[in-house]
């Protein structure tokens, strides 16, 4: 007799700490006791998400989803559900109306995620165009070419309320309409895809291009039809070789099938695509610098206006959008703008993809409806902070954004809320920090990145960034003064006002944000000459508590510079002059005798 039922017990960190292991064992015992041990398999799984409802137990194949299960519930689950075939209503997931949901698919925002942009990632073979087609691929293009006018496409995007996913959130329909509305003078127009994803910790676009390249091809073709362009460029960094390969394969297949190139589907519309490789300069994520790079110039920003929609690539009207913006287009056109408009918040529609990284158990790509809270993303989808450490902050918007503290974890995420918190949506990087991270050290990291990536064209960015970094560096070495805080603010404001492009305008954001929310950490470094997280080496000292040290000699053996002295069974001493503050002794000590102060 084979196995006919499977029971999955969530073994994620959160659930483990709330007795999932006991539940697992109890279920095994209950199944044996009921005489069905041979037909049921009970397994522990990785994190299901939805940790606030943990522990979670899921029954397959009927997909019942039980939440907040206790070890004492196991007999009832086995006897009622498996033996008698009746669901245990009181433990089923309940929606806002307290109705028990019998099927996983009935649960709204199951696991808090909704995958529109990532709908095909991890589902189809990205190198097989027929698998994309089977998932409604190119259905939007069909509809547009044979049933819609360019005006109707713009109207549909307006109904949907899609805002650009590259960071600033400009309405996509408006941007397309600007280009479409430029009077026709017989010259070319262009469609450009900004796949220059340069934020530290961000890889959403790479994943989309690797996993679902045809959605971008289809969307750009639709953009070409709508705006009157016959040529498109995908500007992608050379550091994404797999994404480039898959794009090339996808483009070749699309041409072969007549979905790209001349006379698409016999409609008479022509559209072709080219790939242009970027060398990885962060500033080329800025649209005017990107266009300059495609033209073969140095990637430096141009003053706006005129905006690229009117005078863009080679001074021609150009529509330029981010990968994630494009990935939404085919779905909006097949399902309709009304459908998309129902997802998200009042002013921010649809979903957003985040690369959740840093001090988080379940790092990875997360796509959530706009309006999901940071707490839901970090603690439910992300499974919380490893090793029980305290949450300190989350950085959104990459080096252009800011930190969000524990006080604001329940803020619904959308463009406007993040800006009001002093951060921004950015392209979707989301880096979580815990109590062991020094806020000033993290800020310095972002500044180093921005300073390195400045194109040098304008003084506020070229000089201001370096000055900010220099002051912060001085503070983290214990040589800061309270007046430095005022100086940081002045430089930051000047950069925000006077820089030519977004790179320089946003470089001070992490500084302004951390000064606002972590004034106490700045003060600790400046006045107390202490680094509370123990990160800034010049402000940290290691010593040994003689009362706790038993003289086991482990720290002395671990020390890479031999600065710990002591006999076996006698308290050890650290030579502070030789100590390089690597922390190896702290990590090695089993008796908590090493003090970091």
């Amino acid at each position: 007799m084979g196995i006919s039922n499977y029971v999955l017990v969530c073994g994620g960190t959160g659930c483990e700490s709330t007795k999932s292991d006991t539940i697992y064992k109890n279920l095994m015992a209950a199944a044996d006791k009921a005489g069905i041990g041979e037909t049921v398999q009970i397994v522990k799984t990785g994190c299901f998400g939805l940790c606030e409802k943990g522990p979670i137990v899921k029954f397959l194949p009927d997909e019942s989803f039980y939440v907040e299960v206790k070890p004492e519930d196991t007999d009832e689950l086995v006897n009622e559900h498996l033996v008698k075939g009746r669901k245990v209503e009181r433990l089923l997931y309940k929606n806002e109306k307290q109705e028990a949901l019998h099927k996983e698919d009935d649960i709204p925002f199951y696991q808090k995620q909704k995958r529109i942009v990532l709908r095909n990632c991890g589902v189809i073979n990205p190198e097989d165009i027929t698998e994309y087609i089977a998932r409604d691929g190119y259905a939007a293009l069909e509809k547009v070419l044979f049933e819609m006018t360019p005006d109707q496409v713009v109207e549909e995007l307006k109904t949907a309320g899609l805002r650009g996913r590259g960071g600033a959130g400009f309405p996509t329909w408006m941007k397309w309409n600007f280009t479409k509305s430029v009077p026709d003078d017989g010259g070319p127009r262009y469609v450009v895809c900004n796949a220059d994803e340069g934020d530290p910790g961000a890889y959403m676009d790479r994943s989309t291009l690797e996993g679902d390249p045809h959605s971008i091809i289809e969307a750009m073709t639709i953009a070409g039809f709508t705006t009157g362009a016959n040529q498109g460029f995908i500007y992608i960094r050379a550091e994404y070789p797999l994404a480039i390969d898959r794009l090339k394969i996808a483009m070749a297949q699309a041409k072969e099938y007549g979905l790209l190139g001349e006379n698409i589907l016999g409609s008479g519309f022509n559209f072709d695509l080219e790939i242009r490789l970027g060398a990885g300069a962060f500033v080329c994520g800025e649209e005017t610098a990107l266009l300059a790079s495609i033209e073969g110039e140095r990637g430096m920003p141009r003053p706006r206006p005129p905006f690229p929609a009117v005078k863009g690539l080679w001074q021609r009207p150009t529509v330029i959008n981010n990968v994630e913006t494009y990935a939404n287009i085919p779905v909006i056109l097949t399902k309709g703008g009304e459908w998309f408009n129902k997802i998200g918040t009042e002013k921010s529609k649809g979903t957003k993809v985040f690369a959740l990284t840093g001090k988080i158990n379940n790092s990875g790509l997360v796509e959530v409806p706009m309006g999901t809270t940071l707490r839901e993303i970090i603690y439910d989808v992300g499974g919380g902070i490893p090793n029980g450490k305290a949450f300190k902050a989350v950085q959104t918007g990459g080096p252009s954004g800011g930190v969000i503290t524990a006080d604001y974890l329940d803020t619904p995420i959308d463009y406007d809320n993040l800006i009001s918190l002093g951060s921004m949506m950015g392209s979707g990087g989301m880096i979580v920090m815990d109590e062991d991270d020094c806020i000033l050290d993290v800020t310095k990291f972002y500044l180093e990145f921005s300073v390195e990536e400045s194109c040098g064209k304008c003084s506020p960015c070229r000089i201001g960034g370096k000055k900010l970094h220099g002051i912060l560096n001085r503070i983290t070495k214990g040589k800061g003064k309270m007046e430095d805080l005022e100086t940081l603010k002045k430089i930051g404001k000047a950069m925000q006002k006077a820089s030519l492009c977004g790179l320089g305008q946003t470089t001070p954001n992490p500084v302004m944000s951390t000064m606002k929310y972590f004034a106490d950490e700045y003060r600790a470094h400046i006045v107390d000459k202490k680094c509370p997280a123990g990160v800034c080496k010049d402000l940290v000292s290691y010593s040994i508590d003689a009362d706790k040290c038993i003289g086991c000699t482990v720290c002395a053996r671990k020390c890479p510079v031999n600065c710990i002295a002591g006999e076996r069974k006698s308290p050890h001493v650290i030579d502070k002059d030789k100590c390089i503050k690597c922390g190896a002794c702290f990590d090695a000590c089993k008796f908590n005798a090493v003090i970091v102060g």
Binding site: G2, I3, Y6, L8, Q41, V43, K44, T45, G46, F48, G49, P61, D105, Y110, Q111, Q113, K114, R115, I116, L118, R119, N120, C121, G122, I124, N125, P126, T130, E131, I133, A134, D136, Y138, A139, E142, F146, Y203, R206, S207, E210, G211, D212, Y240, L242, E256, Y257, G258, L259, N263, L265, G266, V331, K335, N361, N362, S363, G364, L365, V366, E367
Partner: protein, 128 residues
């Protein structure tokens, strides 16, 4: 395949869609789908792919199709492998290495038992 007309595209979509649905329900084919995005490959997905191929060849198993797909978003559990097979729930396995791949063949596909300790849930249901 020559350039398609509108009718060709619709026909291909219907055919491919029913083909994929039929395969899953009739159960003559087992699909092993390996996440082969950059993060999967960096985590060792190519070794996993090779192990599946070797194991299937050495045991002379038939009716198994190995496919690649993009990143499922479960980056903390790469490499990820999904198995579609009649009589078993669609299953996503995480933290798959060569040893786990052999267990997927031996326990899951041949023995019809889930490989404990590596089962993950899909990150979201399909939009509809």
């Amino acid at each position: 395949m020559a350039k398609m007309s509108l009718a060709d595209l619709k026909a291909l979509r219907d055919q491919k869609r029913s083909e994929m649905a039929r395969r899953t329900s009739e159960g003559k084919i087992v699909d092993i789908i390996i996440g082969m995005g950059t993060c999967g490959i960096a985590a060792g997905a190519k070794d996993v792919l090779n192990t599946f191929v070797e194991e299937i060849n050495s045991k002379q198993l038939e009716g198994i199709v190995i496919k690649q797909t993009g990143c499922m978003g479960l980056c903390h559990s790469e490499p990820t492998v999904e198995v579609h097979m009649a009589g078993m729930p669609d299953t996503i396995y995480g933290n798959v290495n060569s040893e786990v791949a052999r267990k997927i063949i031996g326990d899951h596909i041949q023995g019809k038992k889930l490989v404990s300790g590596h089962v993950f849930d899909k990150p979201a249901t399909d939009i509809k």
